[in-house]
Amino acid sequence: MTPPATPWDRAALALRLLAIDPYGLGGLWLRARHGPVRAAFAGALGHLPHPVHKIHPGLSDEALFGGTDLAATLAAGKLVKATGIANKPGILQLTMAERATPGFAARLNRLLDAGTHAILVLDEGAEPDEVPPPALTERLAMFATLDGVPVSAIARIKIPDVVPGAVCLPGEALDRLIIAAASLGIDSLRAPRFATRAACALAALDGREEVTDEDLQTAAAMVYAHRAIRFPQEAEEQQEQTAEPRQAEDQPPARQGDAIPEDVLVEVVQAALPPDVLANLAHARTSRAAKGSGGRGQVRKGNRRGRPLPSRPGRISSDNRPDLVATMRTAVPWQGLRPKPDHVRLAIRTSDIRLKRYEDKSDRLLIFAVDASGSAAMARMAEAKGAVEILLAEAYARRDHVALVAFRGKMAELLLPPTRSLVQTRKRLAALPGGGGTPLAAGLQAALELVLSAEKRGLSPTLVLLTDGRANIALDGSANRAAAAADATRMAQAFATRALPVLVLDTGTRKSAVLAKLSIALAGRYLPLPRPGAKAMSEAVASALEN
């Protein structure tokens, strides 16, 4: 079978393969917003030969793994157990997957690893960085997107009624699949495993016993396209860049792919997904930030830890804790009215249940906006990089995330997306650009965009602005001092409305009145730091944050 030509065909083929070998393939990651196209696709799910259960990211452990049915237990006065989805093999349809937490993904991964379930992940992410947890998508063989597919493209999906037979892959085909994965920069061995299963399912789909060359190509296109880190021509460019010894160390001789003649499989994979989809996926890969746990950012209310708050009515699940005393206090006044069997001393209804509530703090994100313009740029960037690494190394206990935006020439660039990983920081900050004009407004704008997306993810951002000069490039890229200053002030005011902690570090040799004024517009603190060292900078930031 030849590789699918359109996105709809791709999605349809993925679903048909899933119908043949659901547990071997793990599932399908479908990126699509709500709409008639997705609805038409979802309609085909009903024809699958396996039971389909709908789940959502907020699903409790009881619903997933089974447990006590509390309402029934209280009504009956004896323990009533409910079976969970984990005990019912089948295909799970996970809606709003981009909102799934790593914890939820970890639970689903257990089901996938056990080989009893397959998952259709419906990802409704709007932004490129809104993606399901990578630990989950890694375990799903295929990816398809329905965004931008016109209604006219909808066609009926014929769900096949075959089982994968004893199709065996010729040994040489397996080698080719593995080599293709290696030359696409796919390190995970799950990918070639999925590709072999997909090739066998494709053969079964056509009712053949033998896997053909076309099957292999299609399997590679379905499984590898969204995982590919780089394509061969990029690899050559990368090779030139990796003259530095450090990078060579990061990339062990695993990359034999460079030496291997290009396989037609690689070309097929490359053609399988539109370039913009690939770009977005690459972005999602790099910007995946560890969504860990509590830090010292903004207050958020929860049920598990932090400072206690008054309890409130709710339903018991494994994610929350009941407040027993409050529950009983609620139940007691009603005892005279409630009929109760002799052995029951206190009749408690579901409505009496009170849950504990706590207040705790979210993670903080330190955004460094660094002026990479002018002659002192290289030194300043290097020190900023050092400060970022020191802060990260110290950030374990503080649970801070760090991001770095550099602005120079005419625009700003997000060099380091929010991360807590020292490894990733080193990789991404290995080469730092410098020189050119000072587009302060653009830098602030990029930082503001980062702030907005970070707040959406529940992080509490803090801005650290590192500059020594005045803005000389306006937002539109023109070298107009007056307009640049006006734009910078405007952006600063936009920042001030977010009421974020802001620290302006003046790295110039003399104090700059303009910067002091800007920091007032930003509603932040101004700190002259004429000879910034990485150590001094990280200390200044740390002490400013303590206050």
């Binding site: 209280l74 790593p102 290696a182 070639p192 495993r193 746990s293």
Partner: protein, 333 residues
């Protein structure tokens, strides 16, 4: 999947397998941390370990897997104290598990329906005398990490909440895995793992092909595949059992002790835990090889495992810890 992938059938990944075998010989080494990219066989190895380990004898129905009836806690209410053999427990601690599930809590159902104050044991109780496996340990919530540190150190789980006052034994080997690109681990927890391993996908295409072939054979015909590898697994299990017996009789010379201390001091490992772990791991290695005495070769074999995660991290040093340790071992030993 009822049967885990056989341990001996894992291709390559010698360091990871070595680390797991060493903790199986001497659980006091204190846990393994496996860091590496996705799809490199981390979870497979841990689940395979469960199948490899020898069975333990426990009191039937005892929630903490006690070896003798006297050790079984009174709150468990185990009446016929029969001893049964069961596999070494390997308990999964999922991300986002609540404190209640980990340490145990008041049994809410019994409290609400029958008005009884009863303790519902958590994952730590189930992991006693076995393994506690945490996938993506670097994403684990702070308060759970604190809790685990406390229990791992004391070997005892203390529950003081909601009117309960219960303590029970919780001695387990912590196995954590994670991807360093997604976040670092706090040094306090890092130090608590005895050994650490960095895994990557096999570099050789032939190895990769072999991995896929074996996995495929396993999935297609599990029972035949298990039969084929049973002998190898049994051999390894017997070697582990023999090494366990030999462990106490392995001699340690003063020179080896001095070499341990010099090595740790030279690489700048914090605290004495590094030295102790290095010594224990070397002893287990010697026992595994059937040697009567710890030699320098054993120290070399486990030096990277035992020390690489204990170095004080210098954020501006580009070379990895492994390289630093290997360099130092060449110089010192």
């Amino acid at each position: 999947m009822t049967q885990a992938f056989p341990f001996s059938a894992i291709v390559g990944q010698h360091e990871m397998k070595q680390a797991m075998v060493l903790t199986a010989i001497d659980p006091m080494i204190g846990g393994v941390l496996v860091f590496g990219d996705r799809g490199t066989g981390k979870s497979t190895a841990v689940r395979a370990l469960a199948g490899l380990l020898p069975q333990i004898e426990t009191v039937e129905g005892c929630p903490i897997n006690a070896a003798v009836p006297e050790e079984c806690p009174h709150w468990a209410d185990v009446s016929p104290t029969r001893l049964v053999k069961r596999p070494t427990p390997v308990v999964d601690l999922p991300l986002g598990a609540t404190e209640d599930r980990v340490i145990g809590a008041l049994d809410i159902e019994r409290a609400l329906t029958r008005g009884e104050k009863a303790f519902e044991p958590g994952l730590l109780a189930r992991a006693n005398r076995g393994y506690l496996y945490i996938d993506e340990v670097n994403l684990l919530e702070d308060h759970i990490v604190d809790l685990l540190l406390d229990v791992a150190q004391s070997g005892e789980n203390v529950v003081e909440r909601e009117g309960l006052s219960i303590r029970h034994a919780a001695r387990f080997v912590l196995v954590g895995s994670g991807n360093p690109e997604e976040g670092e681990l706090r040094p306090q927890l890092l130090d608590r793992f005895g050994l650490s391993v960095e895994v990557t996908s096999p570099a050789d295409i032939k190895d990769r092909v072999e991995v896929i072939k074996r996995r495929d054979a396993y999935e297609r015909n599990t029972s035949t595949f298990m039969k084929r590898w049973r002998a190898a697994d049994t051999r390894l299990r017997n070697r582990i059992l023999k090494a366990r017996e030999a462990l106490t009789s392995v001699q340690t010379s003063d020179e080896v002790l001095a070499a341990c201390a010099t090595l740790c001091a030279t690489v700048g490992a914090d605290g004495l835990r590094g030295e102790l772990t290095l010594l224990k791991a070397a002893r287990a290695q010697a026992a595994f090889e059937g040697e009567p005495e710890i030699g320098v070769s054993h120290l070399k074999a486990v030096g990277g495992l035992a020390l690489r995660h204990r170095l004080r991290r210098d954020p501006l040093d580009e070379a990895g810890s492994t390289v630093r340790i290997e360099r130092t071992m060449e110089e010192v030993l």
